[in-house]
């Protein structure tokens, strides 16, 4: 069953103030889109596009992939601290947006923002039963929590992902589109330090979950959704995690004093592992435009 509510608290409930220090101002905790061309992306230090701008670009792409208009009702599965809900309300001016998250701290932050036409609840997608059907779905890096490493080893991934798409199908109207983003597990490292670091991130920072493989997603969407567009964004996530680590480091003294050495050291190791993982192709990122098969 993937990450439990207690697992999610480990990943997201350190403290909202802690995450605010190193994420962008709206607290997107997922890959932003820099689109700066291959040369720029290869450099050690990312180019002039800010983390804030990259997150807005990401939300614009996924809104387009989900065909969101001001007339839409939108569901955000795994809505984090509400960055996408805020974008739907204040930029797309949607009719209604609802977010579900398993984190109490995140839901409290969304309510604090008091966004127009936005509601949110602490609820697992497995238990969610909406009263009305939605025009569009957006889900940004939530599928990483659906399957545990053990379930993946037992060959249960595709069935679990398919169940997620089945539910998304059930919650939407005919003609609906789905803007999806997921991290990808490309290949398993063989370097001993990299194996240990990636294993440590999987078990200690995001317990209960494992990143999907592209072929699993492609198999699992059927018979519920059709993949219309698919784009991988490995270096964009490399740059996003680079920015996060940079901001984390700039706040080192404050973080150590407030949350202790372990929190700083763990997050520095985790973000460094991500930067390396995207650079060495262990992991990548994909964005998909899916159309409901009616």
């Amino acid at each position: 069953m993937g990450s439990t509510k207690a697992d999610i608290a480990v990943s997201y409930d350190v403290s909202n103030e802690f995450f605010r220090l190193w994420l962008d101002e709206r607290m997107n905790y997922t890959c932003g889109i820099f689109d700066e061309g291959p040369e720029r992306m290869k450099l050690g230090v990312p180019g002039p596009v800010s983390l804030e701008e990259s997150q807005l670009r990401k939300l614009r792409i996924l809104s387009d992939y989900a065909h969101v208009t001001s007339a839409s009702t939108v569901l955000d599965i795994g809505c984090g601290w509400g960055a996408d809900l805020e974008y739907q309300a204040t930029t797309n001016h949607v009719k209604a947006a609802h977010g579900i998250t398993l984190s109490e701290a995140q839901c409290a932050e969304i309510r604090r923002r008091a966004l127009p036409n936005v509601t949110a609840s602490v609820c697992s997608y497995l238990d969610y039963r909406p009263e009305v059907k939605f025009d569009a779905i957006i889900s940004i890096c939530m599928m990483e929590h659906i399957v545990s490493p053990q379930e993946a080893r037992d060959g249960k991934s595709i069935a679990a992902y398919r169940n997620y798409f089945r539910l998304a199908h059930e919650w939407t109207k005919p003609g609906a589109y789905f803007g999806l983003q997921t991290i990808l597990r490309n290949f398993v490292p063989r370097d001993r330090k990299d194996i240990q670091d990636l294993g440590w991130v999987t078990y200690e920072i995001f317990p209960g979950g494992i990143v999907p493989r592209l072929e699993e997603i492609i198999a699992a969407v059927n018979p519920y959704f059709e993949v219309l567009e698919l784009k991988t964004r490995r270096l964009d996530y490399r740059n996003t995690t680079w920015h996060w680590r940079d901001r984390l480091r700039k706040n080192e003294a404050h973080i150590r004093a407030t949350w202790g050495d372990k929190v700083f050291d763990d997050y520095e190791r985790y973000l460094s592992t991500c930067v390396t993982g995207f650079e060495k192709h262990y992991t990548s990122l994909a964005q998909y435009s899916l159309k409901r098969i009616d």
Binding site: A152, R153, I195, Q196, G199
Partner: protein
């Protein structure tokens, strides 16, 4: 010249000692790797020990199918058809 046969049981013991500081005494072909109490990260390190020593690469999608020491032997044999691999 033919290469010497590979003894998977002996190599497995050596790998367990090296990557996880474990002495395995009662190892057989049908030993289930997960029952040895090594975590999955250590198991992955162990696999890469074999790959490095034998200069092969087990495809990622095969990794999850390896349950026993004998399965590891079979996978290695497939990758090295010209060499005797025993467990």
């Amino acid at each position: 010249m033919a290469q010497p046969p590979v003894n998977v049981l002996e190599m497995f013991k050596q790998a367990a000692l090296e990557v996880d500081n474990r002495t395995l005494t009662d190892l057989k072909a049908d030993t289930v790797i997960s029952s040895l109490g090594m975590d999955s990260v250590a198991v992955m390190e162990l696999v890469s020990f074999f790959e490095e020593k034998l200069n092969v690469r087990i495809p990622d999608e095969e990794l999850s199918k390896i349950r026993t020491v004998g399965d590891l032997r079979d996978t290695l044999q497939k990758l090295m058809p010209d060499r005797a691999v025993a467990a």
